[in-house]
Subunit: 155 residues, 2 copies
DNA sequence: CTATTAACGACAACGACGTTGTCTATTCTA
DNA sequence: TAGAATAGACAACGTCGTTGTCGTTAATAG
């Protein structure tokens, strides 16, 4: 029930910190007109980027199969955050691009994350927060985000 | 692709830190004879505790339905980390208890987490690591861990 | 220039995870 | 003692990931 061995606390706190930020982000996004956005969507849309991508490329970026990436794209398309169009220079490819609504989510997310960060700074101090970020940078991979979170944790 | 807005980095680093610790834990657990342990299993077994629980109680503790808790217990039972027995004082209940193998996972996990923590301390310094933990404690809920990670992130 | 190889996207099947709903058995309570 | 509440089992459903297959299109080797 409680956290007995000292080493158990660190991973727990890291995850709780992540979860708190993501939960508050989405509570605020819902208030601002994006109730259907899910945690993974933000990561996916950021991986898509302003230039757009394809399912295969997105899968590679996020460390999942092209089929999994395709399904996520479908969901994003249904919500209206993404649209697909054939590549005129390669008829096989379908370019995935963010819609204005999708861009809006990213813009608002950036703003909200900044606000949340400021709230943390108000609690622990700006300097300590900078230290925290710098320290985490030293012990985490510079690698990109891997999207296989659901299966990674549970399966 | 990269992390442009400053506010995007903090949640990412927190999650990467969590993921690195969990991944290294399970790599080491696999080496020490526990290749089937999954990230969620550790959290579940810790929630079960030395006294044991029931599916309903476990579900409440972890914030999931009793059916979901029951399925997780089934998996843990199949791997051999948990065993079930009827409660003699209440024939409806089935007490879930850790097997010696399940206890072994927790003991080894505690040791491995301590080692990983020491490795972080060697990189950023023991004092800074203590600050980091103290700061995270201030901005995270004292609430328990919620196990709905897969669905929470993706669905 | 043609034939083989490679890549993209779509479809289906599968297992894991969560959910809600239903059902029986047992215990508690009015 | 009758009725309400609880524990657990079972089924159905939707989502997410996986692998495997297939048709179409592009790149490349002969």
């Amino acid at each position: 029930m409680s956290i007995d061995p000292p080493g158990f606390e660190l991973p727990l706190r890291l995850f709780l910190g992540f979860r708190v930020l993501i939960d508050e982000l989405h509570a605020e996004l819902a208030r601002q007109g994006h109730p259907h956005a899910r945690p993974m969507h933000g990561f996916v849309m950021q991986a898509i980027g302003p230039e757009g991508t394809t399912a295969v490329e997105l899968g590679r970026t996020l460390g999942v199969s092209k089929q999994a990436a395709g399904k996520t794209i479908e969901t994003l398309e249904r919500i209206g955050y993404v649209e697909r169009a054939r590549d005129p220079r390669d008829t096989r490819r379908k370019i995935v691009r963010l819609t204005p609504s999708g861009v809006d989510v990213l813009v608002r997310s950036a703003q909200i994350f900044d606000d949340l960060r400021a709230r943390w700074a108000a609690v622990i101090g700006e300097e300590r927060l900078r230290d925290l970020e710098a320290d985490l940078r030293k012990v985490t991979p510079h690698d990109v985000f891997r999207l296989d979170v659901p299966g990674w944790f549970g399966a």
